[in-house]
């Protein structure tokens, strides 16, 4: 246990180190740069490697190369860089390479407003790379959560052999808070499963009971093939429909069948709530204040820490008595689409803001108390 006064970005970097991250490749971009700066300073102290690449495409490529070599690896960026990384997010999904991608969201599209926060990349995190695929994305609301969810992001990526996206925003990334960080022995750290068969029996993409095949490091005697092409269980390219279908259903199943394990939410006063607020990231902080302002009106709050896969059971449970569901977010309505799909459009009131300013508790309160 250690008390510190940290920025969200720094807490994210310390979380990564605590999770066992030993490789970082990145490219400078506001408002994520302090993550790279912290890693450049701290990684060599623990024998890890930091490299500043020529762009974000190369950054994620290097991260994937290092992960295949056996290191837990991460990159951090913001919207424009996140767009460039989409190609290799798809490669990581296809080749099932664990990695963590931090996107400290800023106002977009394009260069937008580099120093202003946003939550505009929620759908890009879900669907940004081409082709149909599952994805995991988490979103912290505080400095301490930047630390905790970075650890969780590494754990999930190692457990499910998948890229995990940490959707921070310029508010939680740049904000400083007093935090009490857990001691290393208090953390649960998950490492990818390694093969326990001789190399000649090893199939890197074999069907297993957990749907997550063990992963061998390059350099450890398991000479196998990795490709972005559709592949068979040995990793060799295939055009056989049965093999393509088996692969595709497995990579969806390995996430969809474990939503209970992946979906993290925080419920406040949701039992018998007549009005439910669903919020995430920095907006959840304003939402907390708003429900205390309206505490006489049976208002509950569900904070989503996991955005993808969407925590639909938790949302349905929290919303089942609610007449109104308020979804504040710093975009024109992205998570609101998922909520509307689950609880019905007529119940949902969106609180939207995409001008780089935080949504205030008063704006959320107005939506809670709005008379039809």
């Amino acid at each position: 246990m250690r008390t510190a006064f940290l920025q969200g970005n720094e807490a994210c970097a310390y979380g990564a180190l605590a999770a066992g991250c030993r490789f970082f490749a990145g490219y400078p971009i506001t408002p994520s740069t302090t993550i790279a700066e912290t890693m450049a300073r701290e990684l060599p102290k623990v024998g890890g490697v930091f490299i500043q690449m020529e762009d974000e495409i190369a950054s994620l490529a290097a991260v994937l190369g290092a992960s295949v070599g056996g290191l837990k690896a991460m990159t951090a960026t913001s919207g424009p860089g996140f767009s460039l990384m989409q190609e290799h997010i798809g490669y990581a999904v296809m080749a099932e390479i664990p990695c963590v991608i931090v996107d400290v969201q800023r106002l977009g599209p394009s260069t937008g407003q580099p120093t202003s926060p946003s939550q505009g990349d929620v759908m890009q995190a879900r669907w940004g790379t081409h082709g149909d695929h599952p994805i995991i994305a988490l979103s912290p609301t505080s400095v301490r959560e930047c630390f905790d969810l970075t650890v969780t992001a590494f754990n999930l990526s190692e457990k499910y052999r998948t890229p995990v996206i940490l959707l921070m925003d310029a508010v939680v990334g740049h904000m400083r808070e007093k935090v009490i960080l857990p001691a290393p022995e208090e953390l649960e750290i998950i490492d990818r499963a390694r093969p326990n068969v001789p190399p000649e029996w090893y199939f890197p993409y074999e069907e297993t009971a957990s749907d997550v095949p063990p992963m061998a490091n390059f350099g450890d005697g398991f000479r196998y093939h990795i490709t972005g092409l559709m592949h068979d269980r040995a990793g060799f390219p295939t055009q056989r429909l049965d093999e393509i279908n088996a692969w595709l259903t497995r990579i969806f199943r390995k996430i969809d069948a474990h939503v209970d394990d992946i979906a993290i939410t925080e419920a406040i006063n949701v039992e018998h709530a007549r009005t439910l607020v669903i919020a995430y990231g920095c907006t959840a902080r304003a939402a907390k204040e708003a429900i205390y302002m309206c505490r006489r009106h049976r208002v509950g709050l569900l904070v989503l820490k996991t955005l993808w896969p969407f925590p639909k059971d938790q949302v349905l449970l929290a919303a089942h008595e609610a007449q109104r569901v308020v979804v504040p977010e710093m975009n024109m309505g992205q998570i609101a689409l998922e909520v509307e799909r689950l609880v019905g459009r007529s119940k949902v009131r969106r609180v939207r803001r995409a001008d780089g300013e935080m949504i205030t508790p008063q704006e959320i309160r107005a939506a809670i108390e709005y008379k039809e």
């Binding site: 060599p44 490299i51 690449m53 490529a61 290097a62 994937l64 190369g65 490669y91």
Partner: protein
């Protein structure tokens, strides 16, 4: 020198179904053979060798070879290799790319990887076209030549690969052709032994698309042209510039000692762990 049969048994994957994907007469298989013989000649353990490729005809090479192999994305093979090398500095990493792969979409990664002088052996198989997509002009297509996307002739200047690697800071730079296969193998061996970024340009051809469009004849004709149109560096130095026009100059262009990236980073680790003091 092991027999061909022994090399096939030792280095080609038994589980992978052949024949390979390349057109009959293609030069890529010759480069693959040169790589196998180079690795065998140097006596490397297969558990110590990784091969990384990008996208295109050359991108399909790793799947056949019994190393740690990775077929990555278009143009980014060097960036994947950089990450792997930093994670596993003990590995010998061969990066195989085509000309479009390495110099168009991957041009930025190419110059920066050379500039870092990280210990990788990069082989660019230069056939002056995009073969897999059917014969579009590439950064190394000579001016005035035809391509499916240059039906009136290519107006762009071509990239001199070796000169580019040289000015970017590579430790070893050499060029040969798929006709001069023993010379090519020798350069690959020297590149693999070099501590630093080694770039070997293997000039090849594509008779299926580029050759057909430009009426350059069969694979045999194009192979003969490599023999007749190429000169060694020593000969080239004696020739007047007008006679050098259109000639392929073979030889070693750079062989120098430059501090290598993973070794420099190891010093960073030592410095950080001793409290920031040198």
């Amino acid at each position: 020198m092991a027999t061909q049969r022994q090399l096939i048994y030792d280095y080609l994957r038994h589980k992978k179904k052949f024949p390979n994907i390349w057109c009959a007469g293609c030069g890529i298989g010759i480069v693959m053979g040169a790589i196998i013989r180079a690795v065998d000649e140097l006596g490397y353990d297969k558990n110590q060798v990784a091969m990384i490729s990008g996208i295109g005809c050359s991108g399909r090479m790793p799947v056949y070879l019994d190393f740690y192999t990775m077929h990555t994305t278009h143009g980014r093979a060097l960036s994947f290799a950089t990450g792997l090398k930093l994670a596993r500095p003990e590995l010998k990493i061969i990066v195989v790319m085509g000309d479009g792969d390495a110099l168009a979409i991957g041009g930025n990664h190419f110059i920066h990887t050379a500039r870092r002088n990280i210990d990788l052996t990069a082989i660019v198989i230069n056939n002056a076209t995009y073969g897999m997509t059917g014969g579009q002009y590439s950064p190394t297509t000579p001016q005035h030549m035809l391509a499916t996307t240059a039906p009136y002739g290519n107006i762009e200047q071509d990239f001199p690969i070796c000169e580019l690697a040289q000015v970017c800071g590579a430790a070893f730079v050499a060029r040969s052709t798929v006709y001069h296969v023993e010379e090519l193998q020798g350069y690959i061996e020297q590149g693999l032994e070099k501590k630093g970024f080694a770039l070997i340009e293997a000039v090849s051809y594509c008779h299926t698309t580029y050759g057909r469009l430009n009426r350059l004849g069969s694979a045999v004709d194009m192979m003969r042209a490599l023999k007749e149109n190429s000169v060694t560096r020593q000969t080239a130095e004696k020739l007047p510039p007008e006679e050098l026009q259109g000639k392929i100059v073979r030889g070693i262009f750079v062989d120098r000692e430059v501090p290598e990236y993973t070794q420099l980073y190891q010093k960073i680790i030592e410095r950080a762990q001793s409290g920031g003091k040198a």
